[in-house]
Every structure is written in C-alpha cells, then in structure tokens.
Assembly symmetry: C2
Homo-oligomer: 217 residues x 2
Amino acid sequence: MLTAVSTPVATRLLTAAARLLSEEGPAALTTRRLAREVGTSTMAVYTHFGSLPDLVRAVIHEGFQRVAERLRALPATDDPVADLFEECRVTVEYARAEPHHFAVMFSGSPLAGLQMSEDDLRIGSYALRIARDTVERCIAAGRFRPAEPWLVTRHLWCQTHGLIQLERAGYFGPTLVPPGTPYLETYLRDFAVGAGDTLEAATASMARPHPRRATPE
Amino acid sequence: MLTAVSTPVATRLLTAAARLLSEEGPAALTTRRLAREVGTSTMAVYTHFGSLPDLVRAVIHEGFQRVAERLRALPATDDPVADLFEECRVTVEYARAEPHHFAVMFSGSPLAGLQMSEDDLRIGSYALRIARDTVERCIAAGRFRPAEPWLVTRHLWCQTHGLIQLERAGYFGPTLVPPGTPYLETYLRDFAVGAGDTLEAATASMARPHPRRATPE
DNA sequence: CCCACCTCCATAACACTGTTATGCCCTCAT
DNA sequence: ATGAGGGCATAACAGTGTTATGGAGGTGGG
C-alpha cells in the first residue's frame, strides 16, 4: 500500500494526522486518536494505508511536497547567491514553523517503526534539485569555484539540517547563545565563502534588500 | 532522580541499555526487556532511575562523556586546522559506529517521551569546549579570520551533525552519492575556507599525513 | 539475641498501544 | 431483486510504561 489515496476518509485521516503531528507532536499519532478525531474506527487506518507507519509515510511525502512548492515559488534573480540564501531561509522557516513535521521527515529516527525506503529518499531529496540548480548558477556566474553542483548542494543541506536539528533540540537557546545573534546569516555567508565566493560579495548578497518571494497562495 | 547511580543492579541496567540500544536500536529499550536481560523485574528501572526516559537520559550522558573522552585524547599539533579536522573525523566515526546511540543523544526526537533539560543541553555541548579551543587556536594562528570562537564552532557543529543525521537517514547512500566521494573531507576543507583559511592551506592541512591520535585505550 | 525498620524488588494490575480476525452493513452491478 | 464486494465497527491479542502492594533480606538499636 503506497500513497495516492484519495477517498474522503483517507484524506480526512491524512489532514488529521498532519494537524495532530503539528499541534501535539508524534506522541499524539495513535490509531485510536486518529479514529476518534475523524469519527471512524481504527480499521480505517489499515484499509486505507496498511499500517500506521504507512500513514506517517504519506504525511511525510506531503511535507516534502509542501517544502518543494515553497522553494519553487521563489523567483530567480540576477544574484544566484542571494537566491540560494533565500532558499535556505525558507527551508529553515518551514522547519521552525512545523518542527514535528520536519523532525519526522528527516529524523530517520524510527517513529512507530517507520523507516525510509529508497523511493522515500529520492522523494525527500527532490527538493534538493531546486537548490542544485541555484548552485549551478552560482558556479556559472563565477561566484562559486567550479565543482560538482550536487556535492556543494549537499554540503549546504548538511549545514541547514544540522542547524535545524540542533535548534529544535535546544542547543541554540538563549542561555547558550546570546539572543539576537544572526548565526543563520553568518553561516550562510561563510558557506558561500567556503564555496568560492569572496567575503565582500557574500556579505553584499546577504544584505541585499528583500528578494521578496512570490507568496505561494 | 538524576544520575550518579552506582549500585550493581543500576550499572547492569545501564550497560544492558547501552548494549540493546547499540545492537537492536531504540525499539528494544523496553522495561520488560531490560529486566529480562539483567535478570530482575521492571521495578528495578523505577527504583534506580525513576522512569524509562530517565534511564535513557543516563545512557545519553554516558555517550556524551565517551565522545568528550575521545576528543580529549587527541594531541594538539602545530596545525590547529588539521587538529579541528581530526576532531570532526573522530566525532563522525563515533556516530557511524554507534548510530542509535548518537541518534538518541542528539535527535531531540522524543524517544519514550524524553526531552532534554537545560542541564542536559549543557552537558551535551560540553564536548564543544574542546572544539572551541581549537577554533581559537586557528584564529590566533591567523588561519581563521577574527570572530567569536563559539559562533564559528557552532557552525562546524551544525555541519557535522547535519552530515551525520543525513547519512544515517540514508541520504548519502550509494544510489544517491557516487561511492568513494570524499564528501566529509571536502566539507571540512570548505568550512575552513569559509572561516577564513586559504584554499591551499586548508587543502594542505587536510592532506597532512596522519596526526595520529593517541589511542584512548 | 531479637526485634524493628527500611531498602530493593517480585507480583499483579491499569490504561494504553498497534494490529488482526470476524462479520455486518451498505452500495453497486447485473 | 439479488448476489458480490468494499469499508468499517467490534472485539480480541500481545505488547507497552507505570503504579500499588507486599514480601524478602539485610541492618541498626536495644
């Protein structure tokens, strides 16, 4: 039983699961709770999804799609480095807004015994294609030194996910990091410098006045 | 009920928990399984630790200590950048050797409802002090541009944890990344460049023949 | 020496979990 | 109208964390 479920009960289960995950965390994702929320019985989960982990998998796929949509909605300007910064900011903002969602999407930690398949991984890294294209533009523009774009993109991905994870765990809390520290901006700028950009150009791209994103909806 | 438990049953519980976590993953960490493993009843968990999450917390603290020990065992050479690289490599190697352990230590994902306290976070970031000192040496040596050492250290921490997490989730598997790609080395080198080092110096520090670590045991 | 006490744990229960077998109901096609 | 089948309600099973209870076993005081 994969995805592509569209009967009304199945979609209601999906939205209820997303809401519960978002509002009360993974502990609220139980079959009985879902059934009560939707007004059905636990069997609905099994007829429509096969198991609870499979339902969670569907929720995850939806999350991937949502992030990819937000990234696709960003306009490409003539400053690819600034565009790359903006893409990272959007990702981090999504992760901060939906911490549980994001945690389940990427934790790899077996919530309810779920583990990602090869296909899941491919879907999960699909949003990376967008960043990869931007990285390629950075290289073509001479801002980044010539390199394999995927390799550079994955480096940024590591940095972004590490930041999100450590933020969520609390390691950037106010008692550990002085409040107001623009660490995300610093790390993005330094990443660009590490990829080949000059400190001045990277700083300028960071300070660039709002390459405001086209609102998705 | 905090840590500092030393009665024989408690330590046997701890070692059994660490072994189960290491060998069979977090799903094996149940009170009944632990009791069976140690030859006692589930009540032992509660008299000695208070709850299962508290036992897991103790396991986590032990993991933190072990990583810090390995880092402290590294000798300081006259190339602080190479030393920093080595510290990262040791951390990544530990994470690869004990993936479940590391995942629980930093996932922040509420395994069995555990969530880190302020003290836990302080303990967790204690190993960072070692890296921070090395970063300071990099700045003092003129390899890194002047900056707040903690800020730079946390950047490296983000990058390292993101890589570990995505590796564990499978995003660096052979079907996604060409096998043999030295991505960790590339990312460390680019990080140094982003922190102010020159590409040539960073490459040289990376290629430096084994600043072999003093074996801890 | 004996008795009180007190810590540690074995037993059993409670409320929960995911999952499955069974069977009913309702719909839809023939 | 009647058979067929999908979708779900009910109830059960095996497992979970946790707690109350009570019984051993050692320890200290009289």
